[in-house]
């Protein structure tokens, strides 16, 4: 009973708050969707659209058999080197699966491991890096 009373109270409070806040709400006219609507409510939005301005990318790093143990810092950066998306210390002879996030508009990233540098297509969900020359 108490729960129901709280629930009813919350709903009434919500109604009051919505009335108070209704100054923020525009009067809307429902029309058929148009290719370039001025009103967001007219947008035709796919169920699958995630509304994100970023993308997650998986980076598969393939190690290389090497006579000694080498570790260095792998960095994933924008090609203009303004933004560092990932920084991690890796052993050169081991495989790694790493993840990083980039703005959706980013199409390439610069991957460095010490002096080894490669520009990699960043449009797939999974990208690859190894230590061999390109």
């Amino acid at each position: 009973m108490k729960s129901k009373q709280i629930s009813t109270f919350s709903f009434l409070l919500l109604s009051v708050l919505l009335m108070i806040g209704s100054g923020c709400k525009k009067e809307l006219t429902i029309v058929e969707p148009t290719p370039n609507p001025d009103n967001p409510l007219e947008l035709v939005v796919s169920n699958s659209f995630d509304w994100k301005t970023t993308r997650d990318v998986t980076l598969e790093v393939t190690g290389i058999a090497i006579p000694i143990s080498i570790r260095n810092t792998l960095q994933v950066r924008s090609t203009d080197e303004e933004r560092v998306y990932l920084k991690s210390q890796l052993f050169m002879d081991q495989n790694y699966t790493l993840k990083f996030t980039i703005p959706s508009y980013e199409t390439e990233v610069l991957i460095t491991y010490g002096s080894i540098m490669k520009v990699v297509d960043a449009t797939p969900e999974v990208i690859y890096f190894n230590y061999l020359s390109q």
Binding site: S10, L13, L14, L17, L18, I20, G21, S22, G23, C24, K25, K26, P37, D38, N39, P40, L41, L43, V44, V45, S46, N47, S48, F49, D50, W51, K52, T53, T54, D56, I64, I66, P67, I68, I70, R71, N72, T73, S78, E82, R83, V84, Y85, K87, S88, Q89, M92, L98, K99, T101, P103, S104, Y105, Y113, G114, S115, I116, Y131, L132, S133
Partner: protein, 474 residues
């Protein structure tokens, strides 16, 4: 300094390497030319070839020795001062005059010391065995030469009396022992905390500057889509140790605007972090009277996942100017200076994690943090990004009423029946619309971004030519 480093490396290798008296052996059977180049073999006018190898699957084979000179240079090797350099070599399709010279190269003598000068008289395989008395860092250079004809030099089964000492990740220079003051395994020149053994790297999200969270607060009813009811700039600094475990998470939250009639709070959940993995949380600003409950580690109580309430009331932190509506959404009203809250979460203390165990940088996955506003200071009325799951303390009675089309059974949350959201997370600093102007009237490519499923104009929020109606942006 470079020679000093070489001396230091030599000394360390002599003292410490269990294989110091071993041989560095290569048969070229493990990969292609690019593989051996990655291991610091310098192979010029030659390649690792499967064509008629001397032994095994592959040998070094030069280009035709008519106009070119085939050169192979080994990685740096720490020679021991005794032992033999051995290798097999021959001229394939022998004719004419062919020669092989072998040198030992050092940093002091980069042109090399000649240790073999061999003129071929036929194409049979030769097994070479050269006593090496030098010690220190050297490379071995093989130089095949000749003129005319189609002959090629071949080289295989190399054994050098010493240990491999090149660094493939550093231009193949001799291994350099960079100082590591705190002994955490990360050299000082790469360590953001060179004197702190428990910290190594600063990682940032977003990678630079601040991202922006923009909310509508009338959920579950539609708003006016000016996306300025609560506008928060944010960034995270994630401090990790040498093994990529999170030590500290520092969130900076800038209260930029609130074009709202409601008093709204703000928090975030870390969906992959158990509360017990967080040792402490400080820096949030919540009055006791606001009704929240916190654990001893500063996280909100009653939550399955680590949840931080950053502030309880935007307008208490950043009050409206007298006789105005909201904060920083009407261009004609007095601008209010931003307030900033810095929340510091400690995951490891002097190398010891919280009782919930360590959290790796990958597991933290900070880009998937789950921010929300608490609309009207009603704790259960959380408003999240589209399809982000409410916390345990969200009140489910609001789902599916009015304009909300949330359906926990299908994982649809905080979207209308037309899939419109109540919040956006923008990777950069976002210049939000002025009061009561829908985002489509401020950002001219927004609709194309949405209706193309994000394919067109993924940079719609940037200040590019033709992207904005500046008059409609605060």
């Amino acid at each position: 300094m470079r020679y000093f480093n070489i001396i230091v490396v030599s000394f360390i290798l002599i003292l410490a390497s269990p294989s110091v008296f071993g041989q560095y052996e290569v048969d070229f059977d493990d990969g292609s030319t690019s593989y051996y180049e990655a291991l610091c073999w310098d192979i010029s006018d030659a390649s690792v070839s499967t064509s008629q190898p001397i032994e095994g699957n592959r040998s070094i084979r030069t280009d035709k020795l008519n106009s070119s000179i085939g050169i192979v240079i080994s990685p740096w090797v720490q020679l021991t001062g005794s032992g033999n350099l051995t290798f097999k070599h021959r001229i394939y399709s022998f004719n004419g005059s062919r020669n092989l010279k072998v040198y030992l190269l050092s940093e002091a003598n980069p042109s090399g010391e000649l240790i073999l000068d061999y003129d071929y008289s036929n194409g049979t395989t030769q097994t070479q065995n050269i006593a090496i008395t030098q010690s220190g860092l050297y490379q071995v250079k093989w130089r095949f030469s000749g003129s005319g004809g189609n002959s090629r030099g071949q080289l295989d089964l190399i054994s050098i009396p010493g240990t491999y000492a090149s660094d493939p990740s550093n231009d193949c220079d001799p291994i350099n022992i960079n100082p590591d003051t705190d002994g955490d395994g990360v050299p000082d020149n790469e360590d953001d905390y060179p004197t702190d053994q428990y910290r190594a790297y600063d990682n940032y999200y977003p990678a630079t500057g601040q991202a922006t969270l923009a909310f509508e607060d009338l959920w579950p009813s539609d708003g006016d889509y000016d996306l300025n009811d609560v506008v928060i700039g944010y960034s995270f600094k994630i401090v990790t140790n040498a093994t990529d475990n999170v030590v500290d998470l520092i969130g900076t939250f800038v209260l930029r605007a609130s074009g709202a009639g409601l008093h709204n709070g703000f928090g975030f959940e870390l969906p992959t972090v158990a509360p017990a993995s967080v040792i402490s949380t400080v820096g949030y600003d919540v009055l006791q009277s606001a009704g929240y409950s916190f654990g001893s580690n500063g996280l909100e109580s009653g939550q399955t996942n680590a949840t931080v309430i950053v502030f309880d009331d935007f307008f208490r932190i950043t009050p409206q100017a007298p006789s105005t509506f909201g904060v920083n959404t009407w261009p004609t009203q007095q601008a209010v200076p931003y307030d900033t809250l810095t929340v510091v979460m400690v995951f490891m203390n002097n190398g010891t994690p919280g009782s919930g165990g360590t959290v790796s940088l990958t597991d933290l996955n900070i880009s998937e943090f789950n921010p929300f506003i608490v609309a009207g200071m009603i704790r259960g009325m959380e408003v999240h990004l589209p399809d982000y799951v409410p916390t345990d303390l969200a009140d489910p009675q609001y789902f599916g009423i009015l304009d909300d089309d949330s359906n926990p059974a299908t994982g649809k949350y905080y979207k209308t029946a037309a899939n419109l959201p109540w919040a956006l997370n923008i990777y950069e600093e976002f210049d939000y619309p002025v009061e009561q102007v829908p985002i489509t009237d401020a950002y001219l490519k927004f609709d194309e971004w949405v209706q193309s499923n994000g394919v067109q104009y993924p940079d719609w929020y940037q200040n590019n030519v033709g992207y904005r109606n500046a008059a409609n942006i605060y």
